[in-house]
């Protein structure tokens, strides 16, 4: 299997704080990799490094055969990394259609082609019935789906999902899991941050465990859940397994 993303020795320092230190792992093409870890483990920092919101202090990130360590966020997005945000950053004064449209416009300036793409994506993410609503008026679950839709409209090769499940009800969560699996079947590799262990175990091919900025282990869901270190550091350590 070819690697779509190779993270080597990723280290990010904010002043005196080591948010990430020496993290190394790969994401294979077509794979779903879950990132887990207690609050403050540096998961979102890692995402921001990959998506180019900031540059690494040390180490390198290779996406699809290209070194993207020093690239800016919009350049990385254009190469094919889509992302969502932990707190949905929907464009509240624009309609749902327009929100997705700005994603679709990345590869084409032609409004007709973009509109087709938008329609397709809205149906994929089950938002078609809300398409003329202002994004600010959506509920949490819809906003989260809108985030995914906007990222998907850019035709990404790799999708970074930051806590898509947080704050959702059980049914909404199930829908979201289905959506993630559907997107994955379309050939998109996925790297997802998730607090809910059940979800991580069902969707992920492999799981990456971060603890206080460092990589604890990488392995299949079974390996991770049976590892005593993980259990003591994370699973048994806190009550934040389910948000």
């Amino acid at each position: 299997m070819r690697n779509i993303l190779e993270i080597t020795d990723a280290t990010k320092q904010f002043g005196g704080l080591m948010a990430n230190e020496g993290i190394t792992f790969n994401v294979g093409e077509g794979e779903i990799v879950g990132v887990v870890g207690p609050n403050g483990a540096g998961k979102t920092t890692l995402f921001n490094s990959v998506s180019g919101a900031h540059t690494l202090t040390r180490g390198s990130i290779v996406f699809d055969g290209q070194d993207v360590t020093q690239k800016k966020a919009h350049e990385i997005a254009r190469l094919g990394v889509g992302r969502t945000f932990q707190i949905p950053q929907s464009l509240n004064e624009m309609t749902v259609t327009e929100n997705v449209l700005v994603g679709a416009l990345m590869h084409t300036a032609d409004m007709k082609k973009a509109a087709e793409k938008v329609q397709e994506t809205l149906e994929l993410c089950n938002l078609a019935h809300r398409k003329d609503m202002l994004a600010g008026k959506l509920n949490v679950a819809q906003k989260k789906r809108l985030e995914i839709a906007r990222a998907m409209a850019t035709d990404p090769k790799l999708l970074l999902l930051d806590e898509t499940m947080a704050g959702l009800t059980a049914t909404e969560r199930k829908d979201a899991v289905d959506l993630i699996l559907k997107i994955n079947r379309m050939g998109v590799s996925i790297l997802t941050i998730e607090h809910n262990m059940d979800v991580v175990m069902t969707v992920s091919n492999r799981v990456v465990v971060l603890v206080s900025g460092k990589l604890l282990m990488v392995g299949t869901p079974e390996e991770v859940t049976s590892n005593p270190e993980v259990i003591s550091a994370y699973l048994g350590g806190g009550s934040d397994t389910d948000e």
């Binding site: 998506s51 180019g52 919101a53 800016k72 966020a73 919009h74 350049e75 997005a77 254009r78 889509g82 992302r83 945000f85 950053q89 929907s90 464009l91 509240n92 004064e93 624009m94 327009e98 449209l101 700005v102 994603g103 416009l105 990345m106 300036a109 409004m111 906007r150 990222a151 409209a153 850019t154």
Partner: protein, 335 residues
């Protein structure tokens, strides 16, 4: 092209638009007062200024408080070439627009790194700076300003007409062109990207938008349109001086025109310009002799309008409807 221009509107709306344009064309024929001609021309010029600012402040969300700089530059770009080389404004106006776009490009990169109030203050400082330079340089005739009146020149070639109505019709057409350009652009990728940047810069970057580059482009377009407005004003007055054109008051007025009409909308600035100019010209004409009273009244009206209609006058119909509904439901509840 026609579809992007008119596709959004119902037949009724198009008919209203056509009627409004006809009224605007007939209006100067109905009156002989120079005051009215002046008012109409100022409305058109300020609409253009408001639309220019709106590209940057309304659509892209970068609120500049220093657009009087480009307004002044636009005037100088027609005045000085005429003074030194006898250049026709037909060449000088596009030159001025290019020049202002270039200025915006040069200062855009460092200035646009700032956000919110800091950006506004920085643009204000730059405009003030430029005013002082223009007041103190020999090249720009200093505080004396530039007199563009020339006797016996070809009126069409040099845009110097005796009848103010000619200016009005010409400027009205130019305003319609600017309006059409804004309308068409508002359906293009460029404006969608600007609105995305206004909404959220991180989200914008995540869909591949080069935020700083698009901000600079918006700044350039905005500067060019405001420069056009400045050129037209100078060409109409045939005299201008930096002390009256490049002040903070002018910058704020440009913002006010756009905000009062409806920020980030295509037609808002025109509505804003009509209201603002009518307010300021009528109060000045009727109360000007009481040294300051006109401005006090004008200021109070501005405070009231901005306070009660933060979304601009375009939201007034919706507000009234909302109020009526509430009243109706209250009455219904009482029964």
């Amino acid at each position: 092209m026609l579809k992007t221009l008119f596709g959004d509107y119902s037949k009724k709306q198009l008919a209203i638009g056509a009627v409004l344009i006809v009224i605007a064309l007939i209006l100067p024929q109905l009156t002989k007062s120079l005051f009215m001609y002046n008012l109409l021309i100022l409305i058109v010029i300020w609409s253009i200024l408001g639309m220019g600012w709106n590209v940057m402040g309304g659509f892209c969300g970068q609120v500049s408080n220093g657009h009087s700089m480009f307004y002044g530059f636009g005037a100088y770009c027609v005045g000085l070439p005429l003074q030194y080389f006898g250049l026709s404004p037909w060449i000088a106006i596009p030159f001025g627009m290019c020049f202002c776009a270039c200025v915006a490009w040069v200062i855009g990169k460092p200035v646009l790194r700032l956000k919110g109030h800091a950006f506004a203050i920085c643009t204000m400082a730059l405009a003030e700076c430029m005013r002082y330079i223009c007041v103190n340089m020999e090249f720009t005739n200093g505080a004396k300003g530039v007199n563009m009146f020339k006797k016996g020149v070809n009126p069409i070639l040099f845009l110097q007409f005796k009848d103010p109505r000619v200016y009005y019709y010409l400027y009205f057409v130019i305003m319609l062109i600017v309006l059409a350009v804004t309308k068409i652009l508002s359906k293009k990728r460029f404006f969608y990207y600007l609105r995305t940047i206004k909404g959220n810069e991180d989200a914008a970057a995540s869909v591949g938008i080069d935020v700083s580059r698009y901000k600079v482009r918006a700044y350039m377009l905005s500067a060019a349109i405001v420069s056009l407005g400045g050129s037209l004003y100078a060409q109409y007055m045939l005299y201008f001086d930096p002390a009256s054109m490049m002040t903070l008051n002018v910058s704020m007025m440009i913002v006010l025109v756009a905000v009062m009409g409806g920020i980030g909308t295509v037609f808002g600035p025109i509505l804003g310009a009509i209201v603002i100019e009518c307010l300021s010209e009528f109060t000045r004409a009727s109360l000007g002799q009481y040294g300051g009273l006109d401005m006090v009244l004008y200021g109070c009206l501005v405070i009231i309008i901005v306070l009660f209609l933060p979304g601009g006058l375009l939201t007034l119909p919706a507000k009234i409807r909302e109020y009526m509904d509430r009243k109706a439901s209250k009455e219904g509840a009482a029964k």
